[in-house]
């Protein structure tokens, strides 16, 4: 009898611990979702309220129609989707071929290749981005020259602010030669996943 009881107590204790872990893990996400539905007047308060008193969809509307940054949400979604789709498709195909080679064949440089993969994966992105940015500028500069004249005014305006000029350039380029600007990014993004085959 006592053993059954102690087993139940332990079970309850473990479940309680599990709940605690889940709650702590969920809290930041919960707070993000809750704040998303709060009107501006409720964002800051000396005693935080877990739930919005007057839930609103205004924040979502503002994000989608672009009154926050000046560009509509779809613009950013489009960029992310492009990079994701291109990099997932390209890296899956390339990784599939490499995986077949490594799994099905025994050949001379197999071990060398296998050892090289994790090393390649671990190289810091910030290091590689210098060379890729330099190359990207060369690549993109051709497309930029094709951008109609009046756009350069916008580019100059964007550059006037306190933003690094490479970012201003990217922003000013934004809509016009979008594909050109994104292409190196997509390819760069997938450099990491080559090893994960």
């Amino acid at each position: 009898m006592r053993r059954v009881l102690s087993r139940r107590a332990r079970r309850a204790g473990l479940n309680l611990l599990g709940l605690l872990v889940a709650l702590i893990t969920l809290f930041p996400i919960f707070w993000m979702v809750s704040t998303a539905f709060k009107p501006a007047t409720e964002w800051y308060s000396l005693t935080p309220h877990p739930l919005p008193a007057h839930p609103t969809l205004a924040n979502f509307r503002a994000v989608i129609d672009g009154s926050v940054i000046g560009l509509p949400y779809w613009n950013f979604l489009k960029n992310s989707l492009f990079v994701t789709v291109v990099s997932v498709v390209a890296s899956s195909l390339i990784a599939l071929l490499a995986a077949v080679a490594l799994a099905r064949f025994r050949f001379r440089f197999r071990t060398t290749y296998l050892i090289m993969l994790p090393i390649v994966q671990m190289l810091p992105q910030q290091a590689l981005v210098i060379a890729l940015a330099a190359a990207g500028r060369h690549l993109v500069s051709g497309h930029v020259r094709r951008v109609p004249g009046q756009r350069s005014g916008r580019r100059r305006a964007a550059r006037a602010g306190p933003v690094p000029h490479w970012r201003a350039a990217a922003r000013g380029r934004g809509r016009v030669s979008w594909g050109a600007a994104e292409a190196p990014g997509a390819v760069t993004g997938r450099g990491r996943s080559t090893g994960s085959c």
Binding site: R11, L14, N15, L17, G18, L19, V21, A22, T25, L26, P28, I29, W31, M32, T35, Y44, S45, L46, P48, I94, A95, L97, A98, V100, A101, L102, R104, F105, F107, R110, T111, L114, I115, M116, P118, I119, V120, M122, L123, P124, Q125, Q126, A127, L128, V129, I130, A131, L132, A133, A134, A135, R137, P164, H165, W166, T188, R190, G191, T194, C197
Partner: protein, 336 residues
């Protein structure tokens, strides 16, 4: 196709040629050529090798070259010639107090992040293995939610939670009893204005997004250990602490080694979280190595040569750690 690859001669998979008459098509001849010289694996590896060469090897060679040059915007545009400057970029970096400050922050933050992530992850992994089916499914799916949160979103959420004007963290700390370190002095405390609190916050973000991976890996390892092992240890009178260190840890040592080295590599090179928490490039005394290098390369005037020297130093540090990782994986048999 040029035969650069040494094919192994002899032992043909198929007869060398047609024994009778009809001329072969281009495709058939290609197949026979590939078979005869055992080219299939090399052809399959060709795309990935090409990608690695153009996106990893070539840039690495480039930054190695830049690091010995005075490469900047004029050189990129071609309006001024590139000059070789020897080791002056490196000596500039090594004499720069900011480099040592950022290196110190990188090392110290990894020293905080790695053990915390590993300990929390292992504890949750062990807990998951002891929970009932439904509860385990619930806790692990919640953890995956944290793991799947992009680094940018996670950092923004945590900055928001810890904002000095009415953030939950400061509010909670003022409500905490004084013997737990709480008190009114936490009201309006800024977590992003100095290096120590900023990196404490970054550590929280890294642990929050990083522990689920450790937990799931440890859980997967625990599933491979037969239950009898734990039962016999228990019968012999071992407590949970002893069982972990005498049974679980020795059996899972290869997994822990790989997880440790992966965490070191990730946390030493942590960029996004810190970049957002310190307010992009706002305060130079809060830079870690990656951000210092990024700032050198991408704020005006960009000093690609100097940044490449920094990048190369960072690469070599990570490479040394990676060699440890590769050795551990070879020992574990992952590369067989």
């Amino acid at each position: 196709m040029v035969r650069t690859v040494p094919g192994q001669p002899g032992r043909l998979g198929s007869p060398a040629g047609p024994s009778s008459g009809a001329p072969l098509g281009f495709r058939q001849r290609g197949v026979i050529f590939t078979r005869r010289h055992r080219l299939a694996p090399y052809l399959l590896l060709l795309p990935s090798a090409a990608v690695i060469a153009t996106l990893v090897l070539w840039p690495t060679i480039q930054i190695a070259e830049f690091s010995f040059q005075n490469y900047g915007l004029p050189q990129l545009a071609g309006s001024e010639p590139t000059q070789w400057v020897g080791f002056s970029n490196y000596s500039h970096v090594l004499h720069d107090p900011e480099f040592w400050l950022s290196l110190r922050l990188s090392v110290l933050s990894a020293v905080a992040m790695v053990p915390l992530t590993l300990i929390v992850g292992t504890l949750v992994g062990v807990l998951l293995s002891r929970l009932g089916r439904k509860m385990a499914a619930f806790v692990s799916s919640v953890s995956v939610l944290a793991w799947a949160t992009p680094a940018v979103s996670a950092s923004v959420i945590f900055v928001w939670l810890a904002t000095p004007d009415g953030g939950v963290v400061d509010w909670f700390l003022t409500k905490l009893p004084p013997w737990l370190g709480g008190g009114a002095h936490w009201a309006g405390f800024s977590w992003t204005n100095a290096a120590l609190p900023a990196y404490a916050l970054a550590t929280a973000v890294v642990v929050w997004t990083g522990f689920p991976f450790i937990a799931v890996s440890v859980l997967a390892g625990l599933r491979t250990i037969p239950v009898e092992m734990f039962e016999s240890a228990r019968v012999d009178g071992a407590g949970p602490w002893q069982i972990f260190w005498r049974v679980t840890y020795p059996l899972l040592r290869p997994i822990f080694q790989v997880l440790f080295l992966l965490s070191v590599i990730w946390d030493f090179g942590v960029f996004t979280q810190v970049f957002i928490i310190i307010g992009e490039l706002g305060q130079r005394d809060e830079y870690n190595l990656g951000i210092y290098e990024y700032a050198t390369a991408f704020t005006l005037p960009p000093a690609y040569g100097l940044a490449s020297a920094l990048a190369f130093i960072l690469t070599i540090i990570l490479l040394v750690i990676t060699v440890g990782y590769v050795r551990a994986s070879v020992r574990e048999g992952a590369l067989r």
